[in-house]
């Protein structure tokens, strides 16, 4: 078992692309850490640097106390599951499982024992003599997992291992992976762009964008305390609605001016001290689609629905963005209790509770809410 530490790690490709920017992070012994972000955010690069398939441009990678920057992949005792499984097509399942053990030079009897144990654990016994091309997607995935597990590696890396599977299988194998990781206790780094996968698998999730760490935290922290507008918009389905509003002060305290209406922040989650520096400025305001509700009448935002998705138990209503910020979302959305009557083109009134509002500075960084001990920081 091992812990992994990245210190001021950076990666710049020959064409000038900055894949990872000054990343410092520690993964505890036995932890399953999920790296989450859109494609091109650098999460796979980070994994590949740890595996030794790419070399860092700066900084340090340690496995336990050993700096591994200059070690070849085969010297790191790391196992990796690739997105396309990368099973050796000319070898049977048994040979695929045996290959890494042969490379370690283990005696034949031990190899056979380990292969049998892993094959039993992953229900591969009947597949041992088949060729990879004769297997289904799910079976290939299990063989790839088996090939990684059989080595009893120090660190286990998974690069979007479920992205080629159908939804049902993905759910099942996701649970298998979580259980296996718990049982074996192998330190694991798991890359995905799927937030549901990330949130169900990882105790801690690292969100990356353009190679820069956006936030590290539990699923709940990312959802309830997003560090910036990127995390707020990325986490949640649909993500948080972000819009611009002017912060001003009236007789009752601070208030936001949104689409010609004034919304008092008196009962909100932000203290005057936090808001003071932004008085008179435009700030970014976030509200989760599930915090919006339909109002029959009275004060609310009038919107015209541009799309209505009926999900059986609820409706996701889309409408043109209110006070759009820069090139952010073109549409905002609301998750509403199911009702048949809602139609595209309907004009409805939406209401929200001031407590559910999130405020971000003009750069998109979250303002500390009441109850936050320290302001959320990108790295810790």
């Amino acid at each position: 078992m091992s812990c992994v530490t990245f210190t001021h790690l950076s990666k710049r490709y020959a064409d000038g692309t900055q894949a990872i920017v000054d990343l410092s992070l520690s993964v505890a012994d036995g932890e399953l850490l999920v790296l989450l972000g859109p494609s091109g955010c650098g999460k796979s690069t980070l994994l590949r640097m740890l595996a030794g398939l790419e070399s860092p441009s700066g900084g340090e990678i340690r496995i336990d106390d050993m700096v591994v920057n200059d070690l070849e992949p085969q010297q790191r005792n790391i196992a990796m599951v690739f997105q396309n499984y990368a099973l050796y097509p000319h070898m049977s399942v048994r040979q695929n499982l045996t290959f890494p053990l042969k490379m370690q030079g283990l005696p034949r009897q031990e190899i056979e024992e380990r292969v049998r144990t892993v094959a039993e654990r992953l229900s591969l016994l009947e597949l041992l003599d088949k060729q990879p091309k004769a297997l289904s997607g799910g079976q290939r995935q299990r063989v790839a997992m088996g090939r990684a597990l059989v080595r009893e590696p120090k660190v286990f890396l998974m690069d979007e291992p479920l992205s080629n599977l159908d939804a049902e299988l993905r759910l099942q194998i996701r649970q298998d992976i979580a259980r296996l990781q718990r049982d074996t206790g192998i330190t694991t780094l798991y890359v995905t762009h799927d937030q549901v996968e990330a949130m169900t698998l990882g105790r801690r999730i690292l969100v990356l964008k353009h190679g820069v760490v956006q936030q590290l935290g539990t699923a709940h922290e990312l959802y309830a305390r997003p560090a910036n507008t990127f995390v707020a918009g990325f986490i949640g389905s649909p993500g948080m609605n972000i819009f611009a509003a002017k912060l001003h002060r009236d007789v009752q305290g601070y208030a936001l001016e949104i689409a010609g209406r004034s919304l008092s922040l008196r009962s909100g989650a932000y203290t005057g001290e936090v808001l003071l520096p932004f008085e008179g400025n435009t700030v970014q305001v976030g509200v989760r689609p599930e915090s919006l509700c339909l109002l029959d009448e009275g004060a609310g935002f009038s919107v015209s629905l541009s799309a209505v998705e009926r999900l059986g138990h609820e409706v996701i209503a889309h409408f043109p963005a209110i006070n759009r910020v820069g090139d952010s979302q073109e549409e905002h959305s609301a998750r509403l209790a199911y009702q048949d009557a809602l139609q595209i083109g309907d004009s409805v009134k939406l209401g929200l509770s001031v407590k559910d509002l999130y405020l971000f500075d003009p750069n998109g960084n979250a303002l500390p809410r009441v109850g936050d001990i320290v302001s959320p920081s990108a790295t810790d």
């Binding site: 595996a51 030794g52 992949p73 790391i78 990796m80 690739f82 050796y88 080595r151």
Partner: protein, 276 residues
């Protein structure tokens, strides 16, 4: 419907005519090798030129009587076997280094290899002759093998095939504990059979008929290959066409056997390496 059928018939007619054009000389060679010498040229103006009327093996017997054919065949087989065998290893390794490893000067070397593709051997034959003569390499097998082991066409074919192999396989092997060479031999080669077959056939064909270089570098029949032997039939009287054609048939047969043996892989190789 009729129109479509007409086109199909026309297609077949054209293809058959083209096929005949290519097959006719081969048929002429086979038919001529089985006739008495006098009839080879006299029947040129009739259909009998390409149809063996009888099976007369005298020309074949003549060939064996006039020259040590077996010795020449062995020389050719050995020289070509070494060129192809060593070439597969050397060129594949070079191409792999160009396709997959990062090293200073890689693109320059690659450009150099591609540039070499367009230089005909005849252009460098004389300088090469002087260089190797200066080293004292003459009149042996080595001098007929060594200059042809590294081959830019073979490197290029391997290179383009390796680029198309999924990189993840090799990365998986590296992570699984294999070094670069182990990865190459255990993972890359078994998945690159088509290109190995293609390169083997292409280089074999290229050098099986090599004439100029052995003529320059060898004097001793003991190390000379088949093309030089067939030349003696033209230069030493009497010129007997039947013997020449019989020799031709026996020289083509090994090529045919090798081509048929590797054909399934070769076709796949041509499709995947993009040569046509």
């Amino acid at each position: 419907m009729h129109r479509k059928r007409l086109w199909i018939v026309l297609d077949y007619l054209l293809l058959s005519a083209a096929a005949l054009l290519f097959i006719a000389p081969v048929l002429f060679m086979v038919a001529g090798s089985l006739k008495p010498d006098a009839r080879v040229l006299s029947e040129m103006d009739s259909l009998r030129a390409v149809l063996p009327a009888q099976l007369d093996w005298q020309n074949y017997r003549d060939v064996f009587a006039r020259i040590p054919f077996g010795r020449y065949l062995w020389n050719s087989a050995l020289i070509n076997g070494l060129i192809v065998g060593l070439g597969l290893i050397v060129n594949a390794l070079a191409a792999y280094a160009l396709a997959r490893l990062q090293w200073r000067g890689r693109t320059l070397i690659l450009a150099g290899v591609l540039a070499l593709l367009i230089i005909p051997f005849e252009a460098i034959a004389v300088p090469l002759f002087y260089q190797l003569s200066a080293l004292g390499w003459r009149n042996d097998y080595l001098v007929q093998v060594f200059p042809f082991v590294a081959n830019p066409l073979a490197i290029y074919l391997f290179y383009s095939f390796f680029l198309g192999l999924p990189r993840e396989l090799e990365e998986a092997a590296r992570v699984d504990g294999a070094g670069i060479l182990r990865t190459f031999f255990a993972i890359v080669i078994p998945n690159a059979k088509p290109v190995f077959a293609t390169v083997a056939i292409v280089t074999f064909l290229l050098y099986w008929g090599m004439y100029l270089w052995p003529l320059l570098m060898t004097v001793d029949d003991g190390v000379r290959p088949l093309p030089l032997a067939i030349a003696t039939f033209y230069t030493l009287p009497p010129v007997q066409w039947g013997d020449i054609l019989a020799f031709g048939v026996m020289m083509v047969l090994p090529v045919l056997v090798i081509f048929i043996a590797f054909q399934p892989w070769f076709v796949r190789g041509v499709a995947t390496t993009g040569i046509k």
